[in-house]
């Protein structure tokens, strides 16, 4: 021994050119000791100490006293650790080979104790042989040894080392533990044990490597592709068996952790440690696994997985997951509707969890993807096949599945929008608006083969998405939140023949204007004798609100008026229109607006009376009812007693004589209406003169009140439809009416005041417009500019043409708007929504 020690000291201090020779010497020494192995006295001390810990009979277990001696020796001579480890491991492999499992366990126990007792710095010397032994155990096909090895590994993994190690490779462990997670051992108990050992092992590997920069990166796809599916497999299989047999027996065993819980914990830990760059590698295998095991259809598991993911990862990374999901959705756009619906469902849940962080920096990209899916789904539903003709007729598209998908997409859009701040939300609203095809206006944008039906469906879908986006929309400044470029196209939709679309537009308007949750209180049209029961919430109308009404008030009134006039309007429409009137007076009313609204209500009454329009009886009654209900509301809001009295009188009289003119009788399931509505006159009508009189007494603008309301028509009406020959006539009529006193009056004092107040806003608008023009010329492709310039050159010509063609078809785009001679309409030549996203608009 002394010789050996001396040699070793010499060996340590010699310059390294003598290494080779020395190592030979040592090797010879070693073999010498090997030969004399039988004579214990000549064996090195560490070997004797190691041998002594093994009892005669493996049943007796580790010899505690000797183990202490060994530990003491190892601690006092840490440089010997490597050799102790090596010798132990040699013994262990021999015992494994000879099936002496008792000794194997003892050796492992000793190793564990040594590992725990040693200081961090010295572990490095020892770990190599330790890992070799664990590997040896894992290689055996005895489950007990595998579990033994794993447990030791886990103990080792929990030791925090402070010195990095260069030469450990965990490849085998990752592979083997992943394999154990999939164990299909016959005995279910043992199988569960092996699988749990596998999971624990993976957890250990992750713990060991995740913070060690010198390790092969555990986040590499080659490892993640093994770890993640193994975890998911256990998560999923556990779920399956649990739901199958929740027997009372299992309940008692619940105290032990089930593999599913363990897996979930491990999965969460893994994700919690993922840094920005690693999220992708961790999530991709999840997507793959869900694909391969076709788990999207079932939804529940996929949703559960992503809930775990979203709750576990660091919140600032959540948008990465969303992006990956969106990318996956795109990749699956040719897959069956149920798969897509599953992904969308997951997106919905994930977005809700990630809340504000879910959308990330690419807001419009998120919405663009969702809208594209919506569009694809509509196309699939209409054409009945996926356009890729490669998969010939293998998949039959089920319309109802596509419908479900569309609903899910729309809900998801809403859920994303809810996470956005107001300014981004209005941006998104504009974006969606820009995508809505206007028939005949953007022929290039409307879907290729689906024709008018497709266009309509897309309109409906996109408007539904808008309804979702606008739900809960709350802005302090209406003017910036609802720019002209959004409001105008929206309102133009409110004049289409399609009742469904009109209703959607009304819903959007309602949720936009409603800022104090008053809308639900107006859902039913009814005469309420005391409106305080509604507990309406009112804020003072701000300056911006006044500006907004000045700018857009007339448009809104007109649309309400024309909306009432539509024959196809049903109960829901009238309810929505009433709510809109109510909300306008709650949210945006100043004195002037109140006057206008009263005029509007009276004009509605006139509309219901007039015989020019061939309106059905129901519509007439409904209009009467809406007017009555609204006047009842507004009179109580103005709190002018005489006004209230007049309204009350009329209503009371109606209740007696003509109940079919009141909402309570009209808006029910089977309203009892007279076959014709001939003699509605006298006391049952609200009188303009009377109202003017009583309101004039309270300081309202009587001049204005006395003038009956006549809706102003603008060019945008023509965007919607109107194709009859009668149209031209009415158009001329409109032009005349515009030049009539009504218009004249507008231009007087009011307009001047407006001009002064608005001038700042106008200037800004002008500047914005210039900026856009410059931007357009800078960014747009050459062809576009050329086309634009060309268009300008032929503007006059086209104007003329368009005026002639008006009766045949609507003008090609709002940018070329003609407007029979109104400079005002020309100035907003190119709507912002078209310019901002030129490339995104193109499908």
């Amino acid at each position: 021994i002394i010789i050996f020690k001396l040699l070793f000291i010499v060996y340590r201090n010699f310059p390294f050119k003598f290494f080779d020779t020395l190592s030979h010497v040592r090797k010879r020494n070693m073999s010498f000791f090997g030969v004399c192995g039988c004579c214990g006295a000549l064996r090195p001390r560490y070997k004797r100490l190691v041998d002594n810990i093994f009892p005669e009979d493996p049943e007796d277990g580790l010899v505690k006293a000797n183990m202490e001696k060994l530990t003491f020796y190892a601690l006092s001579a840490p440089e010997k650790l490597d050799r102790i480890g090596a010798y132990l491991s040699e013994r262990l492999s021999r015992d494994v080979a000879r099936h002496r499992y008792g000794y194997v366990c003892i050796a492992m126990e000793a190793l564990d104790q040594l590992l725990m007792a040693c200081h961090c710095q010295s572990i490095n010397l020892f770990v190599e042989s330790f890992l070799k032994m664990v590997r040896k155990l894992l290689e055996s096909d005895k489950p007990s040894l595998q579990i033994l090895g794993t447990n030791s590994f886990v103990k080792f993994a929990n030791i925090e080392e402070d010195t990095p190690s260069y030469h450990r490779s965990y490849d085998f462990f990752v592979s083997r533990f992943s394999e154990m997670c999939h164990s299909s051992y016959e005995d279910p108990d043992i199988r569960t044990k092996i699988r749990m050992a596998g999971i624990k092992g993976l957890q250990g590997v992750v713990r060991k490597t995740v913070n060690d920069e010198l390790q092969a990166n555990i986040w590499d796809p080659q490892h993640m592709d093994k770890i993640v599916p193994s975890l998911l497999f256990n998560l999923q299989s556990g779920e399956r068996t649990e739901s199958r047999s929740p027997s009372p027996l299992q309940a008692t065993e619940k105290e032990k952790e089930s593999p599913v819980e363990l897996t979930e914990r491990c999965f969460r830990e893994l994700l919690g440690r993922a840094a920005y760059g690693n999220i992708k590698n961790a999530v991709t295998p999840v997507l793959m696994h869900l694909d391969n095991h076709s788990l999207w259809e079932g939804k529940t598991f996929a949703v559960r997985c992503f809930k775990i993911i979203m709750y576990s990862i660091q919140s600032q990374h959540s948008h990465l997951v969303i992006q990956q999901l969106l990318g996956h959705l795109d990749a699956n756009s040719k897959n069956s509707a149920t798969v897509r619906a599953g992904i969308v469902e997951v997106l919905l849940e994930a977005a809700a969890i990630a809340a504000s962080g879910s959308v990330g920096p690419t807001v419009l990209e998120v919405f663009n993807t969702l809208l594209r899916q919506l569009r694809l789904s509509v196309d699939y539903e209409l054409t009945g096949c996926y356009d890729g003709s490669t998969n010939i007729g293998t998949k039959i598209i089920k319309a109802h599945e596509e419908r479900q998908l569309q609903e899910a997409v729309i809900r998801t859009i809403g859920s994303f929008a809810n996470t956005l701040p107001t300014y981004q939300r209005s941006e998104v609203m504009l974006f969606i608006m820009g995508k809505i095809p206007v028939p005949g206006v953007h022929p290039a944008l409307s879907s290729k083969d689906s024709g008018p039906e497709g266009t309509r469906m897309i309109q409906v879908m996109l408007l539904k998405s808008l309804v979702q986006v606008t739900a809960g929309f709350d802005t302090t400044n209406m003017l910036t939140a609802l720019p002209t470029s959004f409001l105008e196209p929206l309102l133009s939709f409110s004049l289409t023949e399609d009742p469904e679309i009109r209703l959607l537009v009304l819903q959007i308007l309602l949720s936009l204007i409603d800022r104090h949750d008053n809308a639900p209180k107006f859902l039913n049209v009814s005469i309420i004798s005391d409106i305080s029961v509604l507990k309406l919430k009112v804020d003072k109308c701000s300056r911006q609100d006044n500006l907004f009404m000045k700018k857009h008030g007339q448009q809104l009134y007109r649309h309400i008026y024309l909306g009432c006039k539509e024959e196809s309007s049903g109960q829901q429409h009238y309810e929505a229109l009433f709510a809109l009137l109510g909300l306008l007076s709650m949210e945006l009313a100043n004195e002037e607006v109140v006057v206008d609204l009263i005029r509007l209500a009276l004009a509605l009454q006139d509309l219901a009376l007039s015989t020019d329009e061939a309106l059905p009886v129901f519509n007439r009654c409904a209009i009467h009812a809406v007017a009555a209900a609204y006047l009842n509301l507004i009179c109580q809001l103005t709190t002018v007693p005489a006004f209230c009295q007049h309204i009350h009188e009329v209503i009371e009289l109606r209740q007696k004589e003509t109940p079919y003119l009141l909402p309570e009788d009209v808006f029910i399931e089977n309203p009892k209406l007279p076959s014709s509505l001939e003699k509605v006159e006298g006391e049952v009508l609200f009188l303009q003169s009377k109202i003017t009189e009583v309101l004039g007494g309270s300081g309202y603008n009587t001049d204005r009140l006395a003038t009956p309301y006549v809706p102003q028509y603008t060019d945008e009406d023509r965007l919607s439809k109107r194709k009859s020959i009668g149209e031209t006539i009415s158009l001329q009529g409109e032009v005349e009416s515009r030049n009539s006193p009504e218009k004249e009056e507008e231009i007087t004092f009011e307009t001047l005041k407006n001009a002064i107040v608005d001038s700042v806003g106008m200037e800004e608008q002008e500047r914005e417009r210039r900026r856009q023009v410059v931007e357009k010329f800078q960014k747009a492709p050459f062809e576009e500019i050329a086309a634009h310039c060309g268009a300008r050159a032929t503007l006059l010509q086209s104007k003329l043409n368009q005026i002639f063609e008006i009766t045949i078809r609507p003008p090609p785009s709002p940018s070329g708007t003609i407007s029979s001679g109104y400079g005002q309409t020309q100035s907003r030549s190119v709507p912002i929504y078209e310019m901002k996203f030129p490339d995104l608009c193109v499908y």
């Binding site: 190592s23 010397l125 042989s129 592979s175 992943s178 080659q222 592709d225 093994k226 095991h293």
Partner: protein
């Protein structure tokens, strides 16, 4: 001081090297992965080779299975780490991750099942995509004990294997025909390649089965 440290470290590394060499119970370690359609008999081949039994009514493999066997070839101990993968489509993502580190792939088909043969090009694409490009691939037609039900003629398979420059062998896990030969041939081939690599690269690059020892040296040069 620094030079002393370097020396010390080298010394330790050498010690470990020596011990690990003396302690290691094999000369070569090779990872072999079995792939092929579901139900062609991959698991049975492995069981026959490692445990010498033919499990009747063997269920479908879940994910991956692992076996180990040490054989001696010309006096050298060769440890074969055999990863037996599931053929089912749904486990494809996890099985693919095992190709990468494989030294050899055993691509298996069932001679009584035309379909399993027709899928071979698909498997080859997978190999191309996921496996290391130096991997040794051998094509195996299993179940020759069911000769009367044969659907794929030997010649056809041989031609196919030749065109893809693969080795070809027909086996029966049930009758234990050619199973031993399959793995031993593969081991010989791998040893040959390893040795050739050693010569070619003049000991610089790690070669299959000996990555361990070399990495110690390279770590020393880093220190």
């Amino acid at each position: 001081m620094l030079s002393f440290k370097v020396m010390y470290c080298q010394c330790i590394c050498l010690c470990i090297l020596q011990f690990s060499m003396s302690m290691e119970d094999y000369d070569y370690l090779f990872k072999i992965v079995l792939i092929g359609n579901a139900g062609v008999g991959k698991t049975c081949l492995v069981r026959r080779f490692t445990q010498g039994l033919f499990p009747p009514g063997q269920g479908a493999t879940i994910g991956v299975d692992f076996m180990i066997k040490t054989v001696e070839i010309k006096g050298e101990k060769v440890k074969l780490q055999i990863w037996d993968t599931a053929g089912q489509e749904r486990f494809r993502s996890i099985t693919q991750s095992y190709y990468r580190s494989a030294n050899a792939l055993i691509l298996t088909y069932d001679i009584t099942c035309e379909d399993s043969f027709r899928c071979l090009p698909e498997w080859l694409r997978e190999i191309e995509q996921y496996a290391n490009n130096q991997v040794v691939t051998i094509l195996v037609g299993n179940k020759i004990d069911l000769a009367e039900k044969r659907e794929v003629v030997r010649q056809r398979a041989e031609d196919f294997a030749q065109s893809q420059s693969m080795l070809y062998l027909e086996t029966s896990a049930k009758e234990s025909d050619n199973v031993e030969k399959l793995f031993l041939d593969l081991a010989c081939e791998l040893i040959r390649e390893a040795k050739q690599n050693k010569l070619d690269n003049n000991d610089t690059a790690p070669m299959p089965g000996e990555g361990k020892a070399i990495s110690y040296l390279s770590c020393c040069s880093v220190v």
